[in-house]
Symmetry: C2
Subunit: 470 residues, 2 copies
C-alpha cells in the first residue's frame, strides 16, 4: 500500500527543534542553552492577570473577547500596532536621505567578491553616524515614507504563522528564496516542506554581504532562474541565530538591488523583514524598518510579534504587507483559522493601550541585558581565545565560532562530549540552508541566554569552556 | 509585470463568509441569520475570568500558561480530552456489533441507485433501536474499540486549523475529496485553494446516501481516478449547514465501503469526521464517533473543538489521528506556529478539570434548545407549507428548502428582496461543492439561531416568511 501523504506531507521533515527537545527529555539534569524559550521569571503573570480581569469584568468588553472576530484581526490591535510601528519608524517617516552613501555602490560592479564587500561593509559601518547604523532625522531630500495605517496589517498566531502564510501565498515548489547564511532554522523548515530552493547570502555583523547578494542575483539571472525567485528573507534585528543587526543602509541597498533585478524576474522581488527580536533591544538605538526605505511600502513584507516581548504563551504576531500579498495572505489565514483568537488579541490591545506592555518591555530589556552580560562574562572567562563571538545588543543569543578544526555539529565529538557534561546548544550547522554552492560551516554554536537561569548560564558556559579546552 | 503569487495564492478565492460580512456592514439594521457566531449572551465571561484568575494567581501555574509549550499540545489538555472522548464513546468501546444490520448491504450490488438507497436508509433508521441511530451497549460480537489515548491527539487553533493541516498533509492539487451535498462551506474554501476536486455525495437526514457513495467510488474506480482520492469528509453531528446527524450504522458502513475500495486506490482512504457540533446537542442521545467503528482507529481522522461549546474567541480544537497522519500533521503544525497558544489550552484544561466546562455546556445546550424552538416556532407560524425543514436536535442551524421554482442564491430575487427587508441568510448554493456531474441545488437556505437574539430570530423569520409568500 502506498503512502497517503501529499508531496508536502512527504517532504515535511521533523523539525530540528524536536530532536533537541528529545535530548532534553533524555537528560533531566541538562542545562539547555539551546531552547529559544523566553525567561520564565520575566513572564508577565501579574500583568496578564490584571488585564484579563479588567477585560472580563464586564460583558461589554468580555463578550467580544470570547467571540469570533474578523480574519484580519482586532481593529483596535491593528490601530495600536500601526501607531506603534509608525512611532518606531518616525525618524525616517519624517524624511531621510535615500540611505545609501556615495562611495558604496550597492551591488555595484566593483563589489562582486567577498573581500571587497567586507571592505565596503566596514565603510558602511563607519559612515553611519549613529549606533546601529541609524540615519539621522532630516527633512532634506529622500522620499518621506508613508505612515503605517491599520489597513495594511494582518494579525496572526505569532509571526511564525505569518511566515507560513507568506510562503503559501508566494512560493510554489521549486521556487527560490534567498536567506542569510546562517538564518532562522524554523524558516528553513517551512521552505523545506514547501519544496523551495534556498540560496544563502553571506552574513556580516551589520547585515548581509551586499556584494554577495548581487553575485547570487546575477547567477540566478544568468542561469535563467530569477523568474523562480520570490523573496529575500532577512532577520534584521538581533538575528536568530547570530544576534547580528542589519544596518538601515543595507536594508535600503538590498531593496534597491532587488528592484533592479525585478525586470529579469518578471515579478516583484520582496524583502521579507523578520523583526521578531526588534523590541528585545538592550543597548544601542532602534533602527527604522525597511518599510521606510525607498520602495519599502510596495516591496517589504514586515513580520513583527508580541509573543517574544510580552509572553510566548500568548501567540500574537502581525504583518505589514503590500497588495496583492495582504489580501491573499488574509484569505489563506481565513482558511487556516478565520482569525487569531480574540482573547489573545484583546489582551494585547489592552496591554498596549494601558502602558502595561511598555512597562513590561522595559523590565524585560533590563533582564535580558543582565542575562546577556552573565553569559558574555562567562564566555570571556571560560572560552579559549580562539573562539570568536560578539556582545549582543538585543535578542536572546550569543553566536560563537570555534576554530575550523573543531566541529560543533550534532554528530561531532564536541557536541557529544558537551551533552555528556549535560550542556546543550544549537549546532550552527542547523542554521544553514541546503545550498549546493557552498559547504555548510560546521564550527559554530547558538547559545541562548533566554530560558536558562543565571546560575545555569554561568555553569553551562563554564562546562562548554572546559570541553572546548580539551 | 507578472503576479508574484503562488498557484495556491492565485487559486485562493475570497471566502463566501467575507461577502456575507460585507453585506452586514452595508446594512446596519440587518438581522443576520447567516453568521455562524455563537450566542453573545451565553459566552462564559465570568467563568473565563475566574479560571484565568486562578491560573495566573501563582507563578507555578501562571508561568507555564504564558510560556511556549509542545507542538502536539498541553499534556493535561490532551489527557482530559482523551478521557472525555473515551467516555462519550464508552458504550461502543465496551463492545458493540459491527454495526451494520443484515438486509442493508452497504455498498452492496443491489443498492446502486438513489431510490433503492433511500429505501435502505429509512430501513436503517427504523432498525436503529435508540434515537439518533445509537447502538446499544453490548459485549457480544464485534471488535471492541480501543480507548482513546492522549498520544493520538493533536491540539490546534480551532478545528478549522486541523482541517487545514490534514488537507496539507494528505492532498496534492488535483486530488479528490468526497463531501456531503451540501457541506460546510469553509471546508470547500480549503479544498478550492488547494486545487482539489470535490465530489458530492447525496445527504439524507441520517447521513450520506450509502448507495450514492458507492456509486461515486465505483465511478472513480472505473475512470482510474481512485488513486487520486484521499478522503471522505463528513460533518457527522448537527451538520453545518443542514443540522442532520449521521447515524452510527452509516459511519460504520461508510468506513467499510472505503476500506473495500482501498485496493483500487493503492493507499488508505480516510473518513474525516468533523464533530464540531457534537457537544451542542439539545435533544436525543449522543452517537459514538466513527473512531469506535471497526477499522476506525486506523482510518478515521476525528476533528473536535472546544471553541463552539465554550467560546469562539478561545480557539482550541483537536484531532485524533492515526499514523502517519498524526506525525505529519504535527510537523506541519510546528511550521505553522510551534503549537497552540498555551494560555488558551491551559484555560480549557482548567475548565475541563474543574467542571466549569460541563456546567457551561449544560447551560449552553438549554439556551440553544430555546433559541432553536424560537426559530422553529417562527418558521412554523410564518413560512408557507411548501417550504421543507426539520427540527434540529443540536447545532446552530435550521435548513429550509423552498419549492424548486423559488431560487435562493445570492443573485436571486428572493435573496435581494430579503436583504431589502434587512434579513440575511446563507444561500444553500454556497454549501455545494463544484461537481460537474450535478447542478448545484439553488433553493435552500441555512438559517442560524446562534448569533441572533430571540426577538431578532422571530422578526427575521417573519420577514422571510412574508417574502416567501409574495
Amino acid at each position: 500500500m502506498n503512502s497517503p501523504l501529499s508531496q508536502l506531507g512527504l517532504r515535511t521533515a521533523p523539525p530540528a527543534i524536536s530532536w533537541l527537545m528529545s535530548l532534553t527529555l533524555g537528560h533531566p539534569q541538562l542545562i539547555s542553552l539551546a531552547a529559544g524559550f523566553t525567561d520564565n521569571a520575566s513572564l508577565p503573570v501579574d500583568e496578564a492577570r490584571a488585564l484579563l480581569d479588567e477585560i472580563l469584568s464586564a460583558p461589554r468588553t468580555g463578550q467580544p473577547a470570547l467571540q469570533y472576530g474578523s480574519t484580519a484581526g482586532d481593529p483596535l490591535l491593528r490601530e495600536l500596532t500601526a501607531k506603534r510601528l509608525s512611532a518606531l519608524d518616525a525618524p525616517v517617516a519624517a524624511g531621510v536621505p535615500p540611505a545609501v552613501e556615495p562611495g558604496v555602490p550597492p551591488g555595484g560592479k566593483k563589489a562582486t567578491n567577498a573581500k571587497t564587500a567586507r571592505k565596503n561593509d566596514s565603510h558602511l559601518k563607519s559612515a553611519s553616524p549613529l549606533p546601529g547604523g541609524r540615519m539621522p532625522p532630516t527633512t532634506a531630500g529622500g522620499t518621506p515614507a508613508a505612515t503605517i495605517t491599520p489597513d495594511r496589517l494582518l494579525i496572526t498566531h505569532g509571526s511564525q504563522q505569518l511566515l507560513y502564510l507568506l510562503t503559501e501565498a508566494l512560493c510554489d515548489p521549486g521556487d527560490i528564496v534567498l536567506v542569510e547564511d546562517p538564518t532562522y532554522f524554523v524558516y528553513l523548515g517551512i521552505a523545506q516542506s514547501h519544496g523551495l530552493r534556498c540560496r544563502g547570502v553571506r552574513l556580516l555583523p551589520d547585515g548581509i554581504d551586499l556584494a554577495h547578494l548581487e553575485q547570487v542575483l546575477e547567477e540566478l539571472r544568468r542561469s535563467g532562474d530569477l523568474p523562480r525567485m520570490k523573496l529575500l528573507y532577512l532577520v534584521t534585528y538581533y538575528q536568530n541565530p547570530t544576534g547580528y543587526t542589519t544596518s538601515y543602509a543595507k536594508k535600503a541597498a538590498a531593496l534597491k538591488l532587488l528592484r533592479r533585478y525585478e525586470k529579469f524576474a518578471g515579478h516583484p522581488l520582496y524583502l521579507l523583514e523578520d523583526a521578531a527580536y526588534r523590541e528585545l533591544r538592550f543597548s544601542g538605538d532602534d533602527i527604522p524598518s525597511a518599510l521606510t526605505a525607498p520602495g519599502g511600502t510596495d516591496r517589504v513584507l514586515y513580520a513583527g510579534t508580541y509573543s517574544k516581548p510580552f509572553a510566548t504563551g500568548i501567540r500574537v504576531g502581525f504583518g505589514v504587507l503590500p497588495e496583492p500579498v495582504l489580501t491573499t495572505a488574509t484569505r489563506i489565514k481565513g482558511n487556516h483559522d478565520f482569525g487569531t483568537a480574540n482573547l489573545l488579541q484583546q489582551l494585547l490591545s489592552r496591554a498596549l493601550a494601558t502602558g502595561a506592555y511598555e512597562r513590561h518591555l522595559a523590565e524585560l530589556q533590563r533582564r535580558y541585558a543582565l542575562k546577556a552580560r552573565v553569559m558574555t562574562d562567562a564566555v570571556r572567562a571560560h572560552f579559549p581565545a580562539d573562539v570568536e563571538w560578539r556582545e549582543p545588543a538585543g535578542g536572546l543569543y550569543v553566536w560563537a565560532r570555534t576554530p575550523k578544526r573543531l566541529r560543533t555539529g550534532p554528530k561531532s565529538q564536541f557536541f557529544q562530549t558537551a551533552l555528556k557534561q549535560n550542556v546543550l546548544y544549537v549546532p550552527g550547522v542547523l542554521c544553514y540552508a541546503d545550498d549546493a554552492v557552498r559547504r555548510k560551516p560546521d564550527h559554530e554554536m547558538r547559545l541562548s541566554f533566554g530560558g536558562a537561569g543565571e546560575q545555569d548560564i554561568t555553569e553551562g558556559i563554564k562546562r562548554l569552556g572546559t570541553v572546548l579546552s580539551i
